[in-house]
Symmetry: C2
Subunit: 340 residues, 2 copies
Amino acid sequence: MATIGDVARIAGVSRSTASYALSGKRSISAEVREKVEQAVQQLRYTPNAGAKALATSQTKVIGLLAQFFEDEFAPAMLQYILGVTNRARDCGYDTLLLTEEDGVSALTRISASRMVDGFILLNVAENDDRLDPLRRAPQPGSLVGLPGDPSEIDVFDLDFAATGRLMVETLAELGHRELVLVSQPEHVLQRGGAYVWRLANAAREQAAELGVTLHHHFGSSTQPQIGRELDDLLDAHPNATGLLLNNEAAAAALPSVLQSRGISAPRDISVIGRYSDDFARTFSLPYTAIDSAAAELGRRAVEHLVSRIEGTSDSEKTVVDLIAPQIDDRGSTAVPPTRH
Amino acid sequence: MATIGDVARIAGVSRSTASYALSGKRSISAEVREKVEQAVQQLRYTPNAGAKALATSQTKVIGLLAQFFEDEFAPAMLQYILGVTNRARDCGYDTLLLTEEDGVSALTRISASRMVDGFILLNVAENDDRLDPLRRAPQPGSLVGLPGDPSEIDVFDLDFAATGRLMVETLAELGHRELVLVSQPEHVLQRGGAYVWRLANAAREQAAELGVTLHHHFGSSTQPQIGRELDDLLDAHPNATGLLLNNEAAAAALPSVLQSRGISAPRDISVIGRYSDDFARTFSLPYTAIDSAAAELGRRAVEHLVSRIEGTSDSEKTVVDLIAPQIDDRGSTAVPPTRH
DNA sequence: CTGAAAGCGCTTACAG
DNA sequence: CTGAAAGCGCTTACAG
């Protein structure tokens, strides 16, 4: 492969001049720049990334730490990942994807070997082991997912508390007085999926404030269990007229459950979920839902990280950016049926 | 950060000795090795990846080129990706994930800058633009997805022809005489998703051979279109007793369609799909199905690539490894109903 | 068994 | 506006 030495030779200049002509870091006569550019074309010269990284201490690579909780549906993570990789590329960065179980060792290994300029952590847990090593690392980091202690780090997340409130509020305004919330499996919560209780707690408080009864249940994440659980829940709460689903599997199983009970949404029951539009359309989740905003979160995390890396942002203040929930109305909410 | 020079100084040896002690590439006295290891511990020394890559021409990174067809469900790709990243790590490699639209430019850019030791291409199309640049690249590559011309490159894929045959055969043996196959959207096929027609053609041939009628249709990939299409198909082919689904959205929409028609599988109709177990369990796809084998394909592609990179495999022969289809029986097939 | 030195391919003060 | 040289942090023939 061609090196910058080859370029310099062909262009008839020194290596430093060739380098400066390419980086634009000092003024170069039009004539010389022209010759260098032609040599680059001719040789199809592309700088060696390792050599560049060694010389500049910049890799132009972002480390993306994915993390998967047991009982969580992994493919949903791809939308966050694509938000990150695509925006990163637009900013001139490539993405190293780290998926090993042990996120702490991945982080320390990659950080110490200087393979990346910064990190993005996905699916951050309430008490995430990766945060301390991240704080100690020389590279900056952005989180997707709000931890218990977000100090010193930039955080991006859907506002799950507002999501819980919005779900309850929406149905309360329509006149519903008794609701059931189905969350992710308790496993997910215990492993640190704080968004589960953040949504649930806010929903509960909002319900209390509005004088609405809210039953909270953890659901399974797979068929056929979740189908049976939903059926049992509807039996257990015959007066509930609204269903809030923070659980994709529940949203997928519900249509059959309702159909087999001979009821339908929104006539007999109102339903609001929380999942992304993509999943809704592919997997027949026909309910009004609050979008996960996955790709948008990935994008924001990248943008902020890049400005930290490049020193564009004031390194003083750390940011906690919570995206306001937005409802995709698919017509599954209405005033509750009048009981006789 | 500590360098190997620091390690050498603390251990009281030369840099070359420290380096050899760590790599084990020449014999080192136990005493010296001990001192070097202690110095490494003490300084938490980790080699600088850029410097190492520059010196050895090896990055220990694999480039993973994802590609998404319009109308294909992107998140399904994560299972392939995880198969790759996890196995790569086990083999000592990290993974650079490239998701930009223009796969050709990504490939040439990464290849020329020497950022990776090899490539894995996902979702390879019949006539994939990325193959020529890959053949010209100095790094080896593995494909997931069988292209029209697989020459010079190692290929891994589900055996879609055998899958099509197996679907037809399974129902034919049960006595079915008229089947409907619902494929991915025609878009996917036109963009080069050869697996769609490979499955369909083989199914058609097998049906002809067994004297079975097979109707082939392209389905939409989203609700509510696919639901209506399925309903129309059942109207159009009232004597069909078996449904073959090479389309996730169709599998997700079918339960409601059947229920609303007052029929069920396998009593009134037998169903076989093609999707992964994970999706089946999370999204209530209750049908017997042939698994996509996504993670396994990713793993095999990595293993073979690594052996090429490390010169373990005979560089002469190139391999085309097609995984035999396996049926997950979820009880949605039976003998056809007897008509009166 | 060990060390001094060259080299990988860049960038960037330093000097003119 | 341009060039010669040092340096980034490794590895690996070469010499002993």
